[in-house]
Point group: C2
Chain length 352, copies 2
C-alpha cells in the first residue's frame, strides 16, 4: 500500500524479530534491552515506517473506529455536533467516520452496513428512520449504538438530546406576556423526527391547557424546501388575525424553519415585532457564538441550546460503552435556555 515497508522489513533491518518490533510499537519496553529499543527506533525514524492499522485491527479485533450518522452535515446543528463528537472521540484515540445520510432511511441503512463491515467499535446515530430493527441488531451483535437527539421507536439505546417541552412552554409564556394574540407553530412534517414531534406535542399540550380555543388550528406544517409553504402559512395567519388588536406571533420549531420564516416575513414587508412576533427553536453552532440570530433583522428571540455540550456528552456515552460499560440505557437531556431579542418585544422596549 504505502511502500513495501512492513514490520518484517523493520525487523530485518534492526536485526531482530517481528515480535520484538511489535513489542516496541506497543510500548512494551519492559523486558527489552535499551540497545534493541534504540536500534528499532533508529530504523523506524530512518525509514518513516508506519504500522498498518488494518492488520493491527484485524488481529486485535478492535478497529479504534467509531461511526457517526447525521441527517445533514451542513446544518449548523450537525456541524456543531460533529465537531464536538469528533474532538471527544479523537481525544480518546478513536478515528471518527462521519456519514451524511441526507435524512434518507435507505442511505442510513447502507451507511450502517458499511460501518459494520468496517468493524467500527461503536456508532452514534442522528437517525433518519423511525424503524430500528437494524440498529437493534447491530447493538445486539456487540457494537454499542448511541442516539443523537432523535429517539427511535423502541427504547434500549443510550441517547443524548436537547430538551423540548420546557423551552416551548417558555416561548409561549413569553409571547403571552408580550400580549401577542393568535400564536402559531410552524413545523415540518413532525412524524419524521422526534424533536419536531415533541415540540409539536408540547405546543399542543400547553395551548390546550391554557384554554382559549387555540389548538391544532394554530399549527402550520411547512416545508422549508418550498418557500411557498411558508408564505402561505404566514398569509393565512395574518388574514385570520386581521382586526385583532393583538398581533399574531409565530414559533418556528427549528432553526431552518425560523430562517425561512424570516425570509417570508421580509418578502411581505411585515414588521417585527409590531405586525407580528417571531421566535423559534434555534441551533446554530458557531453561528450562535457569533450571534447569527442577533444579526438578523431586529434580532430573533430563540431557544438557544448548547449543541456542543450535547455532542460531548453523547460522545462520552459511547466511549463508556466502547470501554465495556453494560448498564441500563441512559438518557441525557441538555437544557436549552431562552434568549429574548427584539423580534418579540412589543411592550418593554422603546424599540427606537
Amino acid at each position: 500500500m504505502t511502500k513495501g515497508l512492513t514490520i518484517s522489513t523493520v525487523a530485518q533491518m534492526a536485526g531482530v524479530s517481528k515480535t520484538t518490533v511489535s513489542r516496541y510499537l506497543n510500548g512494551k519496553y519492559e523486558f527489552m534491552s535499551p540497545q534493541t529499543r534504540q536500534r528499532i527506533q533508529d530504523v523506524i525514524l530512518k525509514t518513516g515506517y508506519q504500522p498498518n492499522h488494518l492488520a493491527q485491527s484485524l488481529k486485535s479485533r478492535r478497529s479504534m473506529l467509531a461511526g457517526l450518522l447525521v441527517a445533514d452535515i451542513e446544518s449548523p446543528f450537525s456541524a456543531a455536533a460533529v465537531k464536538a463528537i469528533g474532538d471527544v472521540i479523537g481525544q480518546a484515540g478513536y478515528t471518527l467516520i462521519t456519514v451524511d445520510t441526507g435524512g434518507d432511511p435507505k442511505r442510513q441503512q447502507e451507511a450502517l452496513d458499511s460501518l459494520v463491515q468496517r468493524q467500527v467499535d461503536g456508532i452514534i446515530v442522528n437517525s433518519a428512520a423511525e424503524e430500528t430493527q437494524q440498529l437493534g441488531r447491530i447493538q445486539h451483535s456487540g457494537i454499542p449504538v448511541v442516539l443523537l437527539d432523535r429517539f427511535v421507536g423502541e427504547r434500549g439505546f443510550d441517547i443524548g438530546y436537547l430538551e423540548n417541552e420546557r423551552p416551548i412552554q417558555a416561548l409561549l409564556s413569553h409571547l403571552r406576556e408580550q400580549e401577542y394574540g393568535r400564536i402559531a407553530l410552524f413545523v415540518q412534517d413532525y412524524a419524521a423526527a422526534s424533536p419536531r414531534y415533541l415540540r409539536w406535542k408540547a405546543f399542543l399540550d400547553a395551548t390546550a391547557r391554557q384554554g382559549g380555543g387555540v389548538g391544532e388550528a394554530q399549527v402550520y406544517v411547512v416545508d422549508p424546501q418550498r418557500q411557498e409553504t411558508l408564505d402561505s402559512a404566514l398569509c393565512r395567519l395574518m388574514v385570520l388575525s386581521r382586526g385583532d388588536p393583538k398581533p399574531p406571533a409565530v414559533i418556528a420549531a427549528n432553526g431552518v424553519t425560523l430562517m425561512h420564516t424570516v425570509k417570508s416575513i421580509r418578502s411581505f414587508d411585515i414588521r417585527m415585532p409590531w405586525d407580528i412576533g417571531l421566535c423559534g427553536y434555534d441551533d446554530w453552532g458557531w453561528m450562535t457564538q457569533l450571534g447569527l440570530a442577533g444579526l438578523v433583522d431586529v434580532g430573533l428571540t430563540a431557544v438557544s441550546p448548547s449543541v456542543h455540550e450535547l455532542g460531548e456528552k453523547t460522545a462520552r456515552l459511547l466511549l463508556e460503552r466502547m470501554a465495556g460499560y453494560t448498564g441500563e440505557p441512559r438518557e441525557i437531556c441538555i437544557e436549552a435556555p431562552l434568549v429574548v431579542r427584539r423580534s418579540t418585544l412589543r411592550k418593554e422596549e422603546a424599540n427606537r
Copy 2:
C-alpha cells in the same frame, strides 16, 4: 467483533469452500452453479453475514477509504465542502474519514499519520500548514494528495480552489461606482492561509494600480476571535474618513470576518450603506441558498462562490488519481460571482 460470523462459517453452512463464498461476495458468478449461488445467498440472508472489510482491505491492498482534512468543520465553507466531497466520494464506493484539524499544523500532522496508518487510498487537504514535506512524502509513497482551496509551499499537488483576484477587483470597482471614499480591507493574518494572502495581494495590486495614494494603510489585520480588533479597525477607519464627503467602505476578506464586521458596525450604530459601505468574500454553504447574507440587516453585498462545486470538482480530482491517473498536477479554479445587495448601494436605490 460482530458475532463470530466469518466467511468460513458461511462456507460450512452452505457446504462449500471459503473460496466459493469469496467468489460469491465479489460477484464472480461466471463459473458458479446456480444452486451453489442460491445456497450461499440463502445462508447469508439468513445469518445476516457481513464480510469483514478490514480483512478484505488487508488482502486486496485497497482500503476504499479516503481522508479529508478541514480546518474547521463548523465553518459553512467546510461544511459545504465536506458535504459535496462526501457525496461524490461515497458515490464512488469510498468511505470518507473527515478530520477537523482546528487549523493546527500539529493536529494536521497527526491526522495525516493516522490516515496513512489506516491505509487510506487518497487524501484531500484544506491545509493548516505551509510546510509540505509530509504531504510530499505521502504523495511520494503512493497515496495521492489533493489540496482544497489552500495552496502550500511547493506545487506538485492537484488542487481545487476558489477564484480570488477577480472578485476582489469586482468588489473594488463596484465600491468606486458607488462613490465610496476610503476603502479598507479587513483580513485575518494573511500569512496563515493562501486565500487570505491572495485576496490581500489582489487588493493591494488593484488599489496601487488605480493610484490615489491608497495602499497598505488601508489594510486592517483583524482577528474575529477578538471582537475588539474589529471594533478598533472600524473606529480608525471612521475617524480617518471624517470630513470626507464620501463615506468609507469595508471589504471583509472572508465570511467570518464579514459577519463580525456587521456585528461591530451594529454596535456603533453606524448606518449601512450611508455612513459606511460593507461587502466581502462570502462562503456560506446552504446559508447562501437560504440567503443568509440577504437576511442580515439591509442585505450584504458579497462574493458568492459555489463551495459545492468546489467540493465536487476537487473530489473528482482525487477519484481520478485513486483510479490510477498519473498526469501532471492539475489546478481547478472555481469562479465566484459578485452579488450586490443593499449594504453598498448608496446611489442607485431610493433605499426607502
